[in-house]
Symmetry: C2
Subunit: 332 residues, 2 copies
């Protein structure tokens, strides 16, 4: 049985959507058991089917708008998030899924789950849909603003195994996010990372990738420092949103606008669905002793369901042990 | 009379589109005189109207795919690009427009035009259309991969005057590109830049701007170091391209697809036109003794025409002298 801890109180629509997502998951995945962490009486209101679902009552919640999330997670050991994370260290559960505050989840994961042996830095790695209908891993999307190139190599191992085992990409290629494609482009960090990736046998290195190919990338994994990759992720989000607004304006314009819009509406909806991160699940925090998935704060039940599916896939494929093998070999 | 030097040989469609763009500009702007730099016999083939147009014959061209553009510009003083740049230093012309290789143009501008007094670093600043139908300046899009925060302040002066005088934005606001909106977010560089912007009376500082608002920004100028801003620019380009591909796929799908597509085609075209950088002109290189505009390499005549219009506006509004006033005051 795969045991998944759900932080049921974190997220914009918690706990209703979290509980409903959990019920959907239980229906589809017979080898999954879920423990919901949160206010018992509230959760019970939404839990219409408790097959393979337990509730652990917790008394507080890390607020989404928390100004000092690291302090909050330290000071609220009985919060739903902290208790869910702790259960993984205690080996009561194999994975945590939370759509709570990102910085609190990262800090809590460090404190309460802990880093893998010899893993120098964790990373957050969302999966982004590509234009040809594929998927790519983008990292580090916010963990380490400044990082040593050798730590990026460890993160690339993790991403490679993740892409192969979870996304089903055979021999995934790693691309370094850069301002030009030629070797020698970019900052010292980028040049040093290029060199290390190129000479490493555990990585299938593609070379530099310019973000003008970001939705049609020649590699399956795009990596940079946590500042740059976060900027890339947010620029994708901002451009998609801005273009959506512009497109809507153009579609609605003029007399023919309304007719075209009615016809095109269904297609635009499917288009938006393709770009929706909820379709893919959440972002995994790489480098921990357990599986921690950050679902979007705005997750509805489908998004949360997908994040639970993703967590159970990672446990089933034993991703962390496979990464640990490479990292421990390297260290020897 | 405003004298504009046109590097007629640089760009994917040179010299035909460059010459045609120049003829369009001459027709519309009666106070503009253009000198075309390039192979005289080739240029003459396309030049059907030589009102206020001269040709200066040059014997070589900086190749677009040049591997070592800085070496190329140094070694080819009789190239169309070098001769056009040189003419500005010699005060034969007020501005240069080129769609030639970017790195060669930057290097050439440093060597042959020279930096403004007390200006520490140049910057490249494209203008990007925003979703509500406005414009914003993005910088530095590739000049200085690593930069001191105090040099960013000078670039922000330039951008502020440019936005006011050329884009017609009253009291333009400057936003610092960052991974979060709160003060204290980002790297040391970002924090130091934040502090300097905040306490500077010559800048109307908005604060941090996350790129998830990049096409609907709360500021008129978005600034970061040359690596980050270049990554933002290329991610906008890549996302727009990828989304366009996805949208086309969705629009063409199914039986109703063809009908919808036919109706929506005209609207999509207008949409693409809104995002087209050729509509705006080129990217100005800030911080030089003269006006240098980098038009897109793929410019057609309309794009090149717009870049000439932009160059003449900058000369007419005396932008460089206005920036020099502030920078020299600061230095005093």
């Amino acid at each position: 049985m795969i045991n998944i801890a759900v932080d049921a109180m974190g997220g914009d629509y918690a706990p209703k959507e979290q509980v409903e997502g959990a019920m959907l998951a239980i229906r589809d995945f017979e080898d999954v058991h879920i423990t919901l962490y949160g206010d018992e009486s509230t959760l019970k209101k939404y839990l219409r089917d408790d097959t393979r679902v337990d509730i652990v009552h917790t008394t507080s919640t890390i607020d989404m708008g928390e100004k000092d999330p690291i302090h909050a997670i330290r000071g609220n050991r009985d919060s739903s998030m902290a208790r869910a994370l702790e259960s993984v260290r205690q080996e009561k559960n194999d994975a945590v899924v939370s759509s709570g505050a990102t910085q609190a989840l990262i800090a809590g994961a460090h404190i309460l789950v802990g880093r893998m042996k010899k893993m120098k830095r964790t990373a957050i790695a969302p999966v982004i849909p590509t234009a040809p209908g594929g998927k790519m891993v983008l990292l580090d999307s916010g963990g380490n603003l400044e990082i040593k190139p050798e730590y990026m190599v460890q993160q690339a191992y993790f991403a490679s195994i993740y892409a192969e085992e979870i996304l089903g990409i055979e021999s995934p290629r790693v691309g370094l996010i850069n301002i030009g494609t030629e070797e020698g482009k970019g900052r010292d960090l980028d040049n040093e990372a290029y060199r290390l990736f190129k000479e490493n046998d555990n990585i299938r290195f593609y070379g530099n990738v310019e973000p003008k190919d970001v939705l049609n990338p020649p590699a399956d994994i795009l990596i940079s420092d946590g500042f740059t990759a976060n900027i890339v992720m947010k620029t994708i989000e901002g451009t998609a949103k801005g273009m959506g607004d512009m497109l809507k304006q153009e579609m609605m314009r003029g007399i023919s606008g309304k007719i075209v819009s009615a016809l095109a509406l269904r297609k635009l909806k499917r288009f938006k669905r393709r770009l929706d991160p909820a379709e893919i699940g959440g972002a995994m925090i790489y480098g921990l002793r357990g599986v921690v998935i950050k679902a979007q704060g705005s997750s509805r039940r489908d998004g949360f369901y997908n994040a639970i599916r993703q967590a159970s896939d990672i446990v089933r494929q034993d991703v962390i042990a496979k990464v640990a093998d490479i990292i421990e070999q390297e260290g020897a």
